[in-house]
Structures are given as C-alpha cells and as structure tokens.
Symmetry: C2
Subunit: 622 residues, 2 copies
Amino acid sequence: MPRTSIATVCLSGTLSEKLDAAAAAGFDGVEIFEPDLIASAARPDELARTVAQRGLTIDLYQPFRDLDSVDPGRFARNLIRLERKFDLMDQLGCDLLLVCSSPSADAVTDDARLSDQLAAAAAIARRRGKRIAYEALAWGAHVSDYRHAARLVATVDDPALGNCLDSFHILSRGDDPSAIADLAPGSIFFLQLADAPMMSMDVLQWSRHHRCLPGQGNFDLGGFIRSVQAAGYDGPWSLEVFSDIFRHADPTRTARDAHRSLRYLSELGAGSPDTDSPDAGSVVSVRVAAGPVLAPKVAETLSHIGFDLQGVDSGTGLQLYRDAGLAVVVDPTAGTVWTAPGVDPDMPTIAQIGVRSDHPASWAQRAAAYDVPVAPVSAPGTDGNADEVVRLDVTDTLAIDLRAEASAADWQERFDLVPRRTVEPASLVTGVDHVGIGIGTADWEGAMLLLRSVFGMSVDDGLDLPDAVGTMRSQALTMPTSSGATVRIVASLVPNQLDTRGPLRRRGGLTHVAFECADIVETARACRARGLRALSIPDNYYDDLAARFDLSDTMIDGMRSLGILYDADADGGEFFHFFTPTIGEDLFFEVVCRRGGYRGYGEANSAVRVAAELHRRAVAEV
Amino acid sequence: MPRTSIATVCLSGTLSEKLDAAAAAGFDGVEIFEPDLIASAARPDELARTVAQRGLTIDLYQPFRDLDSVDPGRFARNLIRLERKFDLMDQLGCDLLLVCSSPSADAVTDDARLSDQLAAAAAIARRRGKRIAYEALAWGAHVSDYRHAARLVATVDDPALGNCLDSFHILSRGDDPSAIADLAPGSIFFLQLADAPMMSMDVLQWSRHHRCLPGQGNFDLGGFIRSVQAAGYDGPWSLEVFSDIFRHADPTRTARDAHRSLRYLSELGAGSPDTDSPDAGSVVSVRVAAGPVLAPKVAETLSHIGFDLQGVDSGTGLQLYRDAGLAVVVDPTAGTVWTAPGVDPDMPTIAQIGVRSDHPASWAQRAAAYDVPVAPVSAPGTDGNADEVVRLDVTDTLAIDLRAEASAADWQERFDLVPRRTVEPASLVTGVDHVGIGIGTADWEGAMLLLRSVFGMSVDDGLDLPDAVGTMRSQALTMPTSSGATVRIVASLVPNQLDTRGPLRRRGGLTHVAFECADIVETARACRARGLRALSIPDNYYDDLAARFDLSDTMIDGMRSLGILYDADADGGEFFHFFTPTIGEDLFFEVVCRRGGYRGYGEANSAVRVAAELHRRAVAEV
C-alpha cells in the first residue's frame, strides 16, 4: 500500500470529528481544507499538535484560488495573500499548497505571462521553504487540461513548483491519462483521487456534489493509477471527494470505506481485483426471510416454478426447497432476521445469497485484508468453519455466503427430509440468472464498494427507470466465475433516511430472484401446469411490441397467452421473461431466458411489471 | 381561467389513480402519455369511456418520436407506425398527436426535405381526421428552437399540422419567447407548461428529472404566458412536468397543487400576483412551540436580546414576550402543537409567523380562490373572526397568520400581565429581518407554490450551502409590503422520507428568527449587558476576514470581541450579524444589520455558525 491521505472536506462533522475518523480508519495523513480551518476553534498551531497526536501528518493545505490575474494590481495583492497563507502553513507545519488554475474572468490567457506569474509565486514559495502543487481545474478559464498545466510547470522549472493530478478533473473531461507516465520524474507533487458516476451535467456541479470513492463510480481509475505509477510517483494517494451523501453521513464509516477504496485502487494498479479474487462459482442457494403468515405463500409460489419442499430443520424451523442443484431456504419464523423496531416480520425478502466456492477460507482472508468482518456461520453441511462457509454482510439485512456446494447428503444431515418419499426434481429452472436487491441511501456507497472490491464485481452504467411508483436508480454488477457462469446482482437504490435500517420495500415489489431456463415457452407452460398464475401483462403491451419489433403474430400471441415479456438489443440479443405475483410487499420471482448474447435485464419492461402488479392488487381488493 | 389539462406522466400511481386525481383536482382534460397506456390493463376504448365518466377529455396523445429520417425505408416504416397510432387514437377518441423533433442520428438536417416529410405525415393525419402538434425538443438534432419548428409548420401549410409550445423546451435554452406573439393565428395547436429550478446541467437530464410546476421554479413563466396570450391561443393550458419527486408523491396532492399552479399562471398572465394581493405589512409576531423543559431557556434567550415577559394566558399557558412593536409568544405546554408520533415536544421551533394586515378577510378570499383552506383562529385582540385574523398552513407544523396589529390593550385583554409593573421596552431590535424555516422533501414543492401564489412572494436563485452537517439547499423568498418593509423567508430543504411528518431538525440548528437593529455593535453590547453570550466565532474566521476584505484592524477586533460576522456584496452592500446559541435541537435567534442595500443573508457565514454551534456543544459536554 502507498501512503494514504484524505481531504477533510470528504468527511462530515467538525474538524475534530473528521480527524478522529481519519485516524481511526488508518490513514497516514490529511489534506486540510481551508473552510474547515476557518470554522474551527483550534488555532493553526494547536491544530498541528492535535493532528500529530492522532498519528497523522498534514500533507497539503488547500485550496489557493485565482492566483493569476490580467490585472497587475490584483496579482500583486494575490501574492500578498499567498504570503499570508504561507504564514498560516508555518504554524500548521505543512509545506505543500494546492494552487488551482483560475476559472475567473480575469485569468491570464497568455502562457508566457501565466508562467511568469507562476514563477513569481514559486520564487516566494522557495524563499519561504514551501512548495506549490499546481492543478488544472476541469472548468479552468484558460488551463483546464493537466498536460497544459504540466507544460507551464516545466517552463517555470522551479523546484518549488510541481503538478497536482486529480483523477476527477482529468477523467471527467474524458482526457487520456496515459501522458501522465511521461511527466518528468519528481514533477508530480501530489495526487488526488475520486471516482464519479457517469452523468451528463455541468462539470462543476458534478464535481461539487456527486464525486464518490474509487470503486463506487464509473471512471477507469485502474488505467489512471497505472499511468501515475509509471511516472514513478511515490507520494501519498489522497482522496478528495465532494459528496452530498458523505457530507451528511457518519464520518467514521465514510473514512473506513475511504481507506478500503485505496486498497482497492492499489489492486487495480497492480492488475485487476478479480485476478486476486479466490475462486467462485454460480449462485447455488438463496435464503428468504418470510415470517409465519406469508411463508406458505412463498412456498406455494416456489412450488409453482419447480421447487419442492425437501426438508425442515427441526431446530430452527427453516424449510428447504430444492430443484436440481438449487436450494431455497425459507425462514418462516418471525423476528429471527430483523430486530429493527417498526420492521414488519411478515415482509418476505431475500436475506442471504449463497455463492459456491471451493475455498471459502481464501475469501475470509481477502475480506480481512479489506478490514471487512466475516463470521463463521452455521450452514447446511458445515460446522460453521471458515473452511466451509464465509458470510459477508452487504447491508444490515442481506449477506452473501461463499460456501462449498452442499451435497444431497449434506442437506439431509441438516434438514429432516419431509416428505420422506423422494421427490423427482422438476428441473424447470437451470440456475440463478440474477438476484435483484434494494439498497437504501445510507448503505448504497458502502455496498457498491464491497461488491466491487472484495468480490471484484464489474459495473455497467447505471440506469434511471421511471415507473408508476417513482424513478428507480438501478445498477447491475457482474462477476465472472471459474465455472464460466456469471454471478449477476441488480441493485436498486431505495431512497430512505440515513438513519433508517431494516429491509426496504417499494410499492409493487423490488427484491427478486430471477431463475434461468432453457426454453421460456415450455417452462412457462410447465409452471402453469404446476399452478402458477403468472403476472398478467396488458394487451396494450403486446400491441406496442408488435409496433416496435419485427415479431410474428404467432410468437406475440404465444407470449401474450403466457404473460411472457420481451426485449432485444441492437446486436440481435433477445431476452424473454415472466414474473410471479409479488408476495407480501416486496418479493417476487422471475424466470428468464437469454439468447444471442443479450446482456441486459429487460429493463424496458420494468414499468410494465410494476403497473401489472399494482393492477393485480387493485383488482384483488375489489 | 383557461381550460386546464395535465399529462398523466406528471402523476404517480396507476393510470386509474392518475385519472382519479386529475378529476378530483378539477382539471378539464388530460394528455395520455404512451407508457401509461401500454402498462394499463384498460384497452383504449375502455380508457376513453372511463376518462369521460370522470368528466375529463383526452386532449393529446403523446409522444410520437423520431418521425423524420434520412433513411427512406425507415421513414416509410415510421409512417406505418403513425397509422397504427391513429388507429389507437380512433379508439381513444382523441384527435391530436404530439410529434417531437428528432434527437436521433438519422434525423433529417435539410429543411426542405424535413418539411416534405412533415407534409407527408400531415396528409395522413388530415385523411384520418387527426391533427399533429409539432414540438421542438430542446435537444433535437436539427430542430431545437420553437421558431425553427414554426417556420417548418408554416412551410408545410397544412391545416392538420400546427405547433406545440412547451415552456421548458423554450426557456431552458434561454430562448426569447416574445416571437410566440407573432405566430400565425390558429397555428398553435397545443401548449405545455412546466417550470424548473435554474440548474447547470445537461438539458435532457434537467428535463426528465427536475421539472416542476409553475411557481415552484425559476423560469419567467409570466413573460412566456403573456406571449402565448398575445398570439390569440385559446386552447387548453396543459402541465407536462417530469419530476422524480412527483413520480413518487401522492397524486391527489400533486394534482391539487398542479391545478393551483395554473391559476397562479393565469394571474401572471394578467399581470403579477402581487398586484392582486391584499395589503400586508411587516412581520409583527412569532409563536414558538417550546415545551415545558426548554421554554425557560427560550425565555432567557429572548430576554438577552431585549424581550421581556409581559403576560401569560391563564387559559392556555401561552407566554407573551415583547419588545417595542414585536411580540413573541412562547408555548411552554407539551403536545399542544405536534401530535405526530415520535415527535419530541421539547424541540423549540417556530410554529407561526404573524404578518400585519388591515384586511385579513381579503386574504381569506384570496386563499379560497386557490382552494387553500383557512380557518378562523383565536388570537390576541380578536374573536377568531376572518375579519381579524386568517391562518394559512405552510406545512403541518408552520402557519402564517395575516392579522390586524394588536394594540397593547388588545394584548392585555388576552394575556394577564405578569409582572404587573410596566416594563420599559428595551428597544434593542427594530423589526424582523427574516425568518428561517426548514421544510421537508414532501412539503417543499407545495410550500413554494403557496408562498409564491397566495402570498405573491418572489424568489431569488436558490443556493447550495455545504457545512459540517451536510449540504443545505436554501431558497430566499421576499414579499414587498404596503409599509415599505419587506417580509423575508429563508426556506431550507431538509431531506426526509416522503411520509415523515412533524417538525424538522438539523444538527447545529436551522429554524431561526433574525431581528433587525440599527447599530450592530451597540446592540451586541446591550445584549451582552443583558446577559447574552453570543455564539463564539473562531479567531481563524477573523484572520480570513482580514485576508478577504479591506477592513480596519479596529473594526475586525470590534467584531471579534462581540462575535459579529460580516459579509459584503459586489455593489458595496454590507451585512453584520451575530447569533444566539441554539436552544434544544433546532431554534436560534439572530440579530442583523444591513447597510448600503445588501440583499443577501450572510450565507457565506452559515457554515461558520454551524461549526461554532457544534463546537459549543462539544465543549459543553466535556
């Protein structure tokens, strides 16, 4: 790991709370953000002492804005202002100042004159024993490209002037970071790191409100950091994340995730996190927390799509449903899963996803390296030993287990087989295509980082999906596995208060398991024969399908009669799927079939499913 | 009022719930948004019947996208698609289709060819007894300006082709709407209306997520609607508001506000709402809901800034504090104000603001015209008669009273004077400069509309203010009064769940009354003499002030010793203010002094106040 640093602006709270959080998370240093200092009751020299007492260094003071000016009088005043900041930095015991390129109307627009002004500032810095790290703001009036800033630094050629590289300012513009590798050795004074979701918006607003930690957004930070490493930079890796979420969140939690994000980034720098990941197979089990009232309804729906009750754990009452190699464990007890006040124990939802692994203990080691707690758990066919199963909490109410695949004998050992007669597997579904989960505002960033870092999952671009209930922010994550299967999770953001805990719900349902099948029509018919009344899809939908796609009337009529929905991508990939009704407030099951390399999730049909579910309920209520 | 219409996309819920909400709010018609139809179980002919049964008409079907194409084969298929949509409209009983200019890569970029394609579509429409309203999307590939679209419509010159004007698409581009007045009579087929907050972002994202109702944003809709009226347009005024908030909100409430917003807009069209507003004077009273534990602390703080206890209402226990012409009524009882579960009755906050008016009954009439409920209330010097006092609820926990100014005798009649001796008014403060209130996510849009419409308040651009606790969205509203004073409210958005009710809090405090004074130093000294320990402002702040402004050391030292903060604007206006500590979780008082026409609120100091308050509490806890 490189030296780690974090800007105080990343964290919520008073300056004292921010420093406590950074130290507790294991950071080596901090950048002091000027507004934090101004609002602090601690004088700069006191601050220097308390920072040192916490085992931290002050790596940078920032920002110094609008240094250069076409107005000579103003530039002269700016140099006086610079001297004052150096006075302050003397007390802080910090020698490095961040100077941003000017976004002002009076910014110098002539490179020769600008390098003269930078040289004048560098001379003062040198005399004062200070150094200036010059950074191209993405919205700088004249200098907005890091290569332009670096040319100016090279022209000035003063040991007191170097470059500050900020991943946001470079990648938000779509600039190629590879030229960083060619910067003169030692000319990079500082490195600031932030990720961000891809957004089409004014870059200043994007920067000030929507940055996030490496591993939480969509920038190619791996390519960026490899260029920085190629340049021979060996200073601190410092996070500078302006985020409306983090400004409000628990700083201890943010700082801990921030430190993890730098470990993730160092893995990206060394290669790719999935090359370091232990083996994983496909999703082999799901645990549904159901509660006593709706557990029978969950069981009935599972039966409709091919799952049969195989056993009951006499100790806990857990029910085992299986089809072929898949296991769904239903927890019909109340209150064993959620203890948060106000949580309805009768809201069936997914509590745990089981991913096959031959070496769970390697996952435990990997999690420990990220300071993510794991606990040995009691699971079928195991002694609760980390060699056999490892559980990681994605949120307070959802865990992922890495576990050896339990054999039929293993399951039998744990569950009393009921009924005693052997049930022939229906073999309707062949595996888990994806799992859909809801994550609240407070948990979103942390969960994304966990799935990206520890699990090495990749992200597609996120989607905003409007429907009858609201606009749903959806993010698909995928993990290739050693078996050639892909573990897919579709996470949806459920806005909630930052202090709300417990399982989330969304009108019309959100959490789901999508099982894959080989033939959608045959499977839909077999499910119907087992009693399924698939969610009824409106005729208007099929009329529109006929207008949008070149599909035969026979095919459309076939889908119409079975409630099958359809999507196709630009490359000829096709997606067929149908839904069970939602059980309780949140949970449903889906059966899908992919053809021709289709990579999506039928998102265009998501609003149709929600409306159909609301309609079903309205009719049922009459 | 013109005929009113609303697009189904504005409202949350199923299509049936949307139609119910539109009918209940008093709309004359609806636009049917295609995705709502596709997801609906009602066939188009059934939908036509249920719309008519609700007393509504279907004014428009929309949208038809990407009509024109440089690919002749695709254009031919588009015309077939058009025929299919006309089939559907036959069943809907709707004759008007919205066609948007194409944002596609295959859009026609030659006006002659484009008008040929529009003419072909218009000919089909004419044959089918339909009409096409052509709209320039702000992000159209070739046609993005309404004047360009209108030239094409004029060139085609077919009675089946006309213009659709959308205020968002015109005003978001900064286009001048005045040329609308010159459009040919009858060429405007349809009018879509939306407001929006000023945002620097990609216009498509802005349009799809952040539109709002007229009177909730920052567009000049008055100028826009007057141009439309000058063109002789007499069709429906239809709201088309894509909003992530409304997609999630109660549709009945949204529809009611939507209908009000069109009334507001018709007032803007006729002139300006404040010309229709009854008289109002300055803020003369404030009621603080305090609860029994912290009421004495509120009283003590009021005493420090010049207010003295004048009486107690023996019936309710309300306490009257006065200075000069101002009255602050403190409610020390628990539970008389908030009944929401989980609400701390001991969180002092502002429950009511009293604005002087000689004719409260005129306000009652104005509120009734907006379908805003008013209730006669019992208040000092009144019989609870609308001639004397009218109360309007801004949120569940905050009301504004319009009331005749109570004389000393009036107050005496209601309150038993305690102590009996006459207290000489301290006369430290001269009036209320502004009131700071918190509004939750669920109430924000409705409260903005109420303050803008019924009260005729004007808005400045909103601000995002980052501080130690988060980023605060702040919106100042002002109302000029007949007395020459200005009523100012600074509203801050407190993110909460849409179903949360009750008073809001923000760490460090948010709700406040800012009193004005003539001399800030003299007043601060007098307050100190009365026992005030003003919020302590860090020395670092004054060091920074010296670096930023050209102020004398004497002046800075004077402010430092009294905890006075400072701001100045570009035109030489100056602002001086100091703060009391926050009482409980939310409420504080501020004393301010404006000089030289300063129009702001010292927002730059807001983060310093929050940090100082958090520091005060941390020290007090040690």
